[in-house]
């Protein structure tokens, strides 16, 4: 399908909003818009295909399940994978699993923008130091928002808009050539990639026992066929019992509550 200039620019803007810790409800807002689940859907909306965007975004999101940014590190840029990836996938009519295989590597590219941003911003801090010497609060406030955000804005909107506008056709062409076996291989990759997100999450949880609970969840789901929400209701039950028994000898605010009601 064809993508027009305005759509391309809007998609670039979605990417801008999804960059790690961007303003407009900083870490909170961006924990939402950064996720391909969300920005993929928005991109789909812009292109008039929200459901496709949702399906593809969800697929791209899985390998980023446990994406953690701590201390300013950004392991991969899922916002780029989500926005650009979804846009190109919709434009060339790829299935979600293959789309994920194609989009995830884009996440590696995006970190360049983040590093540049965090480097350039240093100069504004030094200006702020001077403003502080003069007690110029207004200037500090201005420096915190306008110059750095303008730069990120340009650095994010322009390249993404260009990539979407000019990239859609060639990518669709290449995809067309790949039909058949190569496309199947992409699906295989797409089917395996979610393992990364899950494994990273497991490691982030960091505790031997968690592997046991993880395998339990896996087997319960595989053999019962229950939906995830129901599995998680049972998990909550188990978690509650485990937690209660584990901490039973340590009085908490909670228990004191109990004894008085």
């Amino acid at each position: 399908m064809h993508i027009n200039v305005w759509q391309a620019i809007l998609i670039g803007f979605v990417y801008f909003l999804g960059i790690n810790a961007q303003p407009w409800l900083t870490t909170i807002g961006t924990h939402v818009i950064m996720r391909p689940l969300v920005n993929g859907t928005i991109v789909g909306l812009i292109l008039g295909k929200p459901v496709e965007g949702c399906l593809i975004g969800a697929a791209i999101n899985l390998p980023f399940l446990a994406w953690i940014s701590a201390g300013g590190t950004v392991p991969m840029d899922q916002a780029l994978a989500g926005t650009l990836g979804t846009a190109l996938a919709i434009a060339s009519g790829v299935k979600p699993a293959a789309a994920a295989a194609l989009a995830v590597p884009l996440g590696l590219l995006g970190t360049v923008i983040w590093v540049t941003h965090m480097t350039v911003d240093i100069s504004f801090v030094h200006m702020a130091d001077k403003a502080a010497e003069q007690g110029n609060v207004k200037k500090i406030n201005f420096l915190n928002i306008w110059p750095p955000q303008l730069i990120v804005f340009l650095m994010s909107v322009i390249p993404v808009a260009l990539a979407v506008y000019f990239g859609a056709e060639p990518v669709a062409h290449v995809i067309n050539i790949l039909k058949g076996r190569p496309m199947d291989v992409l699906s295989v990759i797409g089917g395996v990639l979610p393992a990364l997100g899950i494994a990273m999450n497991l490691r982030a949880m960091n505790g031997k026992g968690m592997i046991i609970f993880f395998i339990f969840g896996f087997l319960l789901t595989v053999y019962s066929g229950l939906p995830i929400l129901v599995v998680s209701a049972f998990a909550a039950f188990i978690g509650y019992v485990y937690m209660t028994l584990y901490f039973k000898n340590e009085p908490t605010a909670d228990q004191q509550d109990k004894s008085t009601d």
């Binding site: 689940l37 975004g57 201390g71 199947d184 999450n201």
Partner: protein, 272 residues
């Protein structure tokens, strides 16, 4: 005597929520976000004392970094300290600085684990299954609403709690077994849920068939499924986990997965 009102506190809170990272940088990290958030309060406190205002601004422009939602009481407690200082209490600048740098690490640790490591993955696990069926409401929309509905109230509650109960209140919270209980509960929930996610979304099986005279042995159905359904997805996930444990970088692991899947897929050893 200058007094900080609830309205002042709220204003600062939202400034912090919106612009903590707008000039995030490698030298001082969130320092400008902090100063931006606190500046209206500093202006009020040191209204007619330009020198003290300057000092305060410089004080908060120093290096600072924490998890913005869970670590925000550090800032509201700093506000309380600045208020007392402005009102003549003998609070040296070093005390405020020391407090900030002392607390930012621990709170970032707990906060990052709780939010990015547990709550967000759980919410994604709940909503992605709906999204893969094209359900936008129970998918991305529900994800966003639930996340904001959980994180914003926590952040706001901590901010207020910080100002009103001070350092002591926050330390108690950190060591209280309630927090530990919540963490343990959430971890178990999360672990089971991503196990379920693995079952639903990691897809890999083998089309191999071992020829046995006239018939042939379907490896997937007759060997692997006999041991356990979904044993390949589980194995792939655990292998990935093991690679990460061996300190391989995520990008390296990503590459290994892509190349591995491509090669095995191309040779028809595995399929989606």
């Amino acid at each position: 005597m200058v007094e900080i009102t609830r309205k002042d506190l709220n204003r600062s809170f939202w400034r912090w929520m919106f612009f903590s990272h707008s000039n995030y940088n490698y030298e001082r990290l969130q320092s400008m976000g902090v100063t931006y958030a606190l500046s209206p309060i500093l202006k009020k406190l040191y209204h007619n004392k330009p020198d003290e205002l300057k000092e305060a601004l410089q004080r908060h422009l120093q290096f600072f970094n924490t998890e913005p939602s869970f670590g925000d009481p550090i800032l509201s407690i700093s506000i309380a300290m600045e208020e007392q200082k402005a009102n003549g209490q003998p609070i040296p600048a070093e005390m405020i600085e020391g407090f900030k740098t002392g607390m930012m690490g621990p709170l970032a640790g707990v906060g990052d684990t709780l939010f990015q490591g547990i709550i967000i993955p759980i919410l994604l696990s709940f909503t992605i299954p709906f999204a893969t069926e094209g359900n936008i409401i129970l998918g991305p929309f529900a994800y966003g609403v639930l996340l904001l509905g959980i994180m914003l109230p926590i952040a706001h509650w901590l901010w207020m709690k910080g100002y009103y109960t001070g350092r002591q209140g926050i330390l108690e919270l950190l060591h209280n077994s309630l927090l530990q209980k919540v963490m343990m509960f959430a971890q178990i929930l999360g672990a089971v849920v991503i196990g379920a996610l693995t079952a639903k979304f990691v897809t890999v099986s083998t089309p191999l068939a071992i020829p046995l005279g006239r018939t042939s042995l379907n490896v997937q159905k007759k060997v692997l499924d006999e041991l356990s359904l979904g044993i390949l997805p589980l194995a792939v996930t655990l292998a990935t986990y093991w690679m990460l444990k061996k300190k391989l970088k995520p990008t390296t692991v990503l590459l290994i997965l892509i190349v591995g899947a491509a090669v095995l897929g191309a040779f028809g050893i595995i399929k989606a």
